[in-house]
């Protein structure tokens, strides 16, 4: 590489062959106003991310509404780990690694279902849906029952916690708690739940899975990039005469906020407060959803007016959960150059009038054929091809750096189109990657 770039102080992604893996110095790759292209392409960096981010900090896994009944289970992921999220007989939620303790076969092949136990197809070992080994055929080979059960079980993810039904997990036994990790983002999950007259979000509309040949961070950065919508989504905005584009313009009063800990938001509330029409955030009027509006006013009293005007959060929760107003996205990393986007429509308990519309709007917008997301994904995949070019080495992050301010919570705020959110993402990234 150095012969190609003789006169530039190229950071050091490459160790000489055979060197013990000290790995890159991430402080040389992540700067306050730019990040190095190798962060999106280097398989060793991806391996470091698995260890230092995906298997360490809190990662979103699934939602309790996906496993309502005792015995319900769904297969999810944490980084590259295949994880079964189960509901035990006592109502507890468990996260089990999908790996038999005998010969490492997958014990669960179905994406979802209901079962008190998982039976490995290879030699018939059977586990309770809380992980304990309860059967191993021809057990005299192990000295009979009551022998190996204490030693061999499905592995449980060390830490599990939830907020508003959103289940998060950490593969590290020790570390900051979920509340500390979520910080300011917790209130955004609360804000989403408050759009339900019953105060509950449900993720029960099924998931689209969009295979994306791009590094996962391109997605995480884009989720609160208010600069791209007019360009990437201009086609659908013009065809539908959508007012969304105007929310992300030079004239918009919306702001981009670094929520801390890598979380960020496009806060559209200033625009909706200025317009001051209930349900405008949903592209409708209160007259068209009278049952919902009535139930909200019954549930929240005077506070309902603010909720109905301000609408839903547009928040990226580090590293993999995106609250996209009426959708939820989950980013699943696969390799340095590939990831999967999972998307579903938000469903609000007690709001049937809204729920079908949210599914319909989401089906039109997101997923592999979505009139918005297919174009985002085209950008991610072209970006991934772009970062393979050696020059310029950096991706620029300086937009709005000179006009950031602190809000009354002490959080950094930029205009609707500034890269304040991305800078917050990378600050957190560097903290986790650098402090190994």
């Amino acid at each position: 590489m150095t012969d190609l770039l003789p006169d530039m102080a190229r950071p050091e992604p490459a160790d000489p062959p055979g060197t013990p893996t000290a790995g890159p110095d991430y402080s040389r790759l992540v700067k306050p106003d730019r990040v190095h292209g190798s962060l999106y392409t280097d398989p060793r960096i991806f391996a470091d991310e698995l260890t230092r981010i995906w298997y360490r900090t809190w990662v979103y896994v699934g939602h309790v509404s996906e496993i309502r009944q005792p015995g319900d289970y769904v297969r999810k992921s944490i980084g590259l780990q295949d994880v079964i999220m189960t509901r035990a007989a006592d109502g507890g939620v468990h996260l089990l690694l999908n790996r038999c303790a005998h010969r490492a076969n997958l014990v669960c092949e179905a994406d979802r279902g209901n079962s008190k136990s998982f039976r490995c197809p290879y030699h018939g070992w059977t586990y309770r849906n809380t992980g304990e080994l309860i059967g191993f055929p021809f057990n005299q080979g192990y000295g009979g029952k009551g022998t190996i059960e204490g030693e061999l079980s499905l592995a449980s993810v060390p830490r599990i916690d939830s907020h508003q039904g959103f289940v998060f997990a950490s593969m590290a036994a020790d570390g900051p708690g979920l509340a500390e990790h979520l910080g300011e983002a917790a209130g955004e999950l609360d804000r989403l739940a408050r759009l339900s007259p019953d105060g509950e979000v449900e993720l029960t509309a099924g998931w689209l899975k969009h295979r994306t040949r791009a590094n996962w961070k391109l997605l995480a950065e884009n989720e609160t990039d208010g600069y791209h919508p007019q360009f990437v989504h201009g086609s659908i905005f013009s065809v539908t005469q959508s007012p969304i584009g105007a929310l992300y313009s030079d004239k918009s009063t919306a702001v981009t906020r670094n929520l801390g800990n890598g979380h960020s938001e496009n806060d559209l509330r200033p625009e909706f407060r200025r317009i001051a029409e209930p349900m405008r955030w949903f592209g409708t009027t209160q007259a068209r959803v009278p049952g919902y509006v009535r139930r909200m006013r019954e549930a929240y009293g005077e506070a309902a007016e603010q909720i109905l005007v301000e609408g839903a959060p547009h928040v990226m929760v580090f590293p993999n959960l995106f609250l996209a107003e009426i959708q939820v996205f989950v980013i699943q990393p696969v390799s340095a150059g590939e990831c999967v986007q999972h998307s579903t429509a938000v469903q609000l308990k007690g709001a049937p009038e809204l729920n079908r519309r949210m599914v319909s709007q989401s089906v039109g917008s997101v997923g592999p054929a979505g009139m918005l997301l297919a174009d985002d994904t085209e950008m991610y995949e072209r970006n991934q091809r772009g970062v393979a070019m050696l020059r310029p080495e950096w991706l620029d992050l300086r937009r709005g750096l000179g006009r950031e301010r602190l809000d009354d919570r002490g959080l950094k705020v930029g205009t609707a189109t500034d890269e304040t959110g991305m800078r917050g993402f990378w600050a957190r990234y560097l903290t986790l990657m650098g402090a190994a």
Partner: protein, 163 residues
């Protein structure tokens, strides 16, 4: 072979219609393709899972006639990045069978294999298509098209062309 009831359609006539619909889609002839649909049309590509209640569940595509128009209008802007440039497409339709009729429409099943080439690479798409065909003023029209992808349970790449 004729349709069991209702409409008097023979298999060659049906096949010719299906091939024409496929050719319009392969060649991005949006106007000709759009003109095939009836006003109550449903164009549906289910995701994995439940096929019984499309209105309450996520689908890859679930377009009524109005949304078909929106989708095509977006393509017509030339700024639908996921189809700019358009994918190069060719599909083969086979195993065409008249399955019965429903509400006066003839239900036809077929299998398809489709090669899609973009700068990203070549994707192979395959699946089962169920069509609802209707004679309107002597012309065959498309009242429904459901495309069950063989890999619908897996993560799918971008599907921004007409399938």
């Amino acid at each position: 072979m004729t349709a069991p009831a209702g409409q008097d359609l023979d298999l060659p006539q049906i096949e010719q219609f299906l091939y024409r619909e496929a050719r319009y889609a392969d060649e991005h002839d949006y106007d000709a393709w759009e003109a095939l649909w009836t006003d109550d049309a449903i164009y549906w590509v289910p995701a994995g899972g439940d096929l019984t209640e499309p209105g309450g569940q996520m689908s890859v595509i679930y377009d009524n006639r109005s949304r078909i128009a929106t989708r095509l209008n977006q393509l017509r802007t030339g700024r639908r990045h996921a189809q700019s440039p358009p994918s190069s497409l060719r599909r083969v339709i086979s195993n065409v069978e008249v399955l019965g009729d429903t509400g006066g429409d003839t239900v036809v099943g077929a299998n398809f294999v489709l090669a899609e080439s973009r700068e990203r690479g070549v994707e192979t798409w395959a699946g089962r298509v169920t069509y609802r065909l209707r004679l309107v003023d002597g012309e065959l029209r498309l009242a429904g098209k459901q495309v069950l992808l063989v890999n619908r349970e897996q993560a799918l790449p971008t599907l921004a062309f007409l399938i």
